[in-house]
């Protein structure tokens, strides 16, 4: 039972990550291969601030803000680099950050990491109560992120994001500053990843560099590709399926609570999964959701009524 509850928490945390990557890659076409970097920033910000007694919600917000600031920073090269080079640059950025916190032990204990106090500690509560509290907190955050992503996707802003993804030069020629949109989307996506990082740190009650291997990024990518880019429901669905798959493969071995067990078999299975998805369902399980606004919907309805009369 505890195992299932634990799984639910992980799905929530990775759901937030998948939503944030979906915003960047699915809608705006930014190949962010450094998702783990912002996850790490959120987690470490939470850990360091909670150690000096800052309340948990402020830690989470601070994690999101620091993460967003780094997102803004990384958007500077993003404007100059082509998508594939950007991917390499951000991937490296994530690794550099991990190596810095690993080797600079004054920051947060280096390789050994530091322990983090849980967000809401109920005195005398059992571990199960703690997990249930965590589920509430994580899913509250997931809901907020989902609503924001959904509102953005179905607004003129979402329309511009997709336009930048399709042809950024044409979008620029139509008066949309791609610099501004890319920076904003990266900031927003990074803020979400930062929140996920904070939740992750406080749930596991410790942070250490080994939790932030590049494989985390790739796991999130598989979620988005499997679920369907540019579809928020798809991102969440992908998070559910991949986390279940991840656990399923782990369960055969033992009951470790680490999300990624660097076992070779799992890597191979993940690789095969990506190949299968890209071969047989390149658009993902769910198709890209069209932009839905009130006005668009009412015009669409009118037209279908008109057509019905005509035929």
């Amino acid at each position: 039972m505890l195992y299932v509850l634990d799984l639910i928490v992980f799905i929530g945390i990775f759901g937030i990550l998948a939503l944030s990557l979906n915003l960047e890659f699915g809608f705006a076409g930014l190949a962010n291969f450094g998702k783990v970097a912002f996850f790490l920033i959120g987690a470490y910000t939470y850990a360091l601030l909670s150690q000096i007694g800052v309340p948990f919600y402020l830690c989470l917000i601070a994690g999101a803000m620091v993460s967003a600031a780094f997102g803004l920073l990384i958007s500077l090269p993003a404007l100059r680099l082509r998508a594939d080079y950007l991917a390499i640059a951000i991937l490296t950025f994530g690794e550099i950050l991990r190596l810095i916190v690993k080797s600079e032990s004054w920051i947060a204990g280096g390789d050994w990491g530091i322990s983090v106090s849980p967000a809401i500690a109920i005195s005398g509560g059992s571990h199960r109560v703690d997990v249930l509290v965590n589920i509430g907190l994580v899913y509250f955050c997931l809901l907020i992120c989902f609503v924001i992503a959904q509102l953005l996707a179905n607004s003129p802003y979402g329309r511009v994001m997709r336009a930048v993804r399709e042809d950024e030069m044409a979008a620029e020629a139509l008066g949309k500053s791609r610099a501004r949109y890319k920076a904003q989307v990266l900031m927003l996506g990074s803020a979400m990843a930062g929140i996920a990082g904070g939740l992750y740190a406080q749930y596991l009650q410790y942070v250490l560099p080994g939790m932030f291997m590049p494989m985390v990024t790739f796991t999130v990518w598989i979620m988005v590709l499997l679920g369907g880019p540019a579809n928020n429901w798809g991102a969440v669905l992908g998070a559910v399926l991949v986390t279940l798959f991840d656990r399923g493969t782990n369960i055969a071995k033992d009951y470790l609570t680490l999300p990624i067990d660097p076992s070779n078999l799992q890597y191979i299975l993940f690789g095969a999964l990506i190949i299968l998805v890209l071969l047989y369902r390149p658009q993902g399980l769910l198709k890209e959701s069209p932009i839905k606004t009130k006005a668009l919907e009412s015009v669409k309805r009118e037209r279908s009524v008109g057509k019905g009369k005509g035929s």
């Binding site: 003129p156 997709r162 020629a173 139509l174 791609r178 669409k300 037209r303």
Partner: protein, 298 residues
């Protein structure tokens, strides 16, 4: 340091541009300009909405545009013709800020726009339609149109989240406008289909329709009638003529000379990166330089 065509060290203009002191840079360039006007010997049109002065653009050693000066009068349709590779599209891209000119100045409504980014030029009301349609192919035809609308409330991050009622209200009007333009281009039946499903000619029409959606002051069209059936092409030009009476100016590159000469009020002829002649269509069609540009030296 190699001297700038404008006659002052390039470092100064570049430096000013970098600092963002556009005013200073424009002023400096304009001082140089007033001296040069007499050199080109061209009369300055009073009501010109677009003034191009000595603009050059080279790629490596090749001068695609080599010291072009011309004026586009406000209102009406101005044509630009010339053989393939004569620099028409490069000139357009330079005006739009996609290429930065290597020399010379471009004024739109009296403001120097050399140093602006494409989206800033668009915001001033100078819009274009690409020669090869650059649509957002996975988005619906209607969404393609709506991206282009100027002065939207909801395309800003915070507005899209917190001023929902405001942009929803605005969008209603925009959709009506978009459907009207689509109807004109005979595209309204496809309003909700992805732009990628349109045929080649329809894509071209949508590209022009999308530019019209911005309600531009000056619209640059690069071969709008290419690949479109003759009847619809003529209809499109008739509509453009109607619009030009309501204050939109058109600057059009077109190889379908019979249509262009019928509707344009002024024609420039370009050859090998230079404007060789400009005048009213009747005069141009009798101009030997025009035939030389197309047929080569006899």
């Amino acid at each position: 340091m190699a001297p700038d065509p404008r006659g002052h060290p390039r470092a100064i203009t570049v430096g000013y541009n970098l600092l963002g002191i556009y005013g200073a840079s424009v002023h400096l360039a304009e001082n140089m300009q007033s001296r040069r006007q007499f050199v080109t010997g061209e009369p300055l049109m009073e009501e010109a909405i677009l003034r191009i002065r000595e603009v050059s653009k080279h790629f490596g050693g090749v001068y695609a545009v080599n010291g072009v000066s011309l004026d586009v009068k406000e209102g009406g349709i101005c044509g630009l013709v010339g053989p393939n590779g004569s620099g028409k599209s490069t000139l357009f891209n330079t005006i739009l800020g996609i290429h930065r000119p290597d020399g010379g100045n471009i004024y739109f409504n009296g403001n120097c726009i050399n140093c602006l980014a494409p989206h800033q030029i668009y915001a001033l009301g100078l819009v274009n339609a690409f020669q090869l349609p650059r649509l957002f192919y996975q988005m619906s035809v209607l969404d393609n149109m709506l991206v282009a609308a100027r002065g939207q409330q909801g395309d800003k991050l915070l507005n899209s989240l917190f001023l929902r009622r405001k942009w929803q209200e605005q969008e209603k009007g925009l959709i009506e406008e978009a459907l009207d333009i689509l109807e004109l281009m005979e595209l309204d039946r496809w309003a909700f289909s992805p732009a990628g499903e349109l045929s080649g000619g329809q894509r071209k029409l949508l590209e022009v329709a999308r530019a019209l959606m911005a309600k531009p002051t000056l619209l640059l069209l690069d071969e709008p009638a290419a690949g479109i059936n003759p009847v619809l092409g003529r209809k499109m030009f008739q509509k453009l003529e109607d619009l030009s009476r309501n204050g939109t100016t058109f600057f059009i590159v077109e190889h379908r000379l019979e249509i262009l000469f019928e509707f344009a009020s002024w024609i420039y002829v370009m050859d090998r990166g230079k404007t060789v002649v400009g005048g009213e269509p009747e005069d141009i069609s009798e101009e030997p330089a025009f035939y030389r540009a197309y047929l080569g030296e006899e």
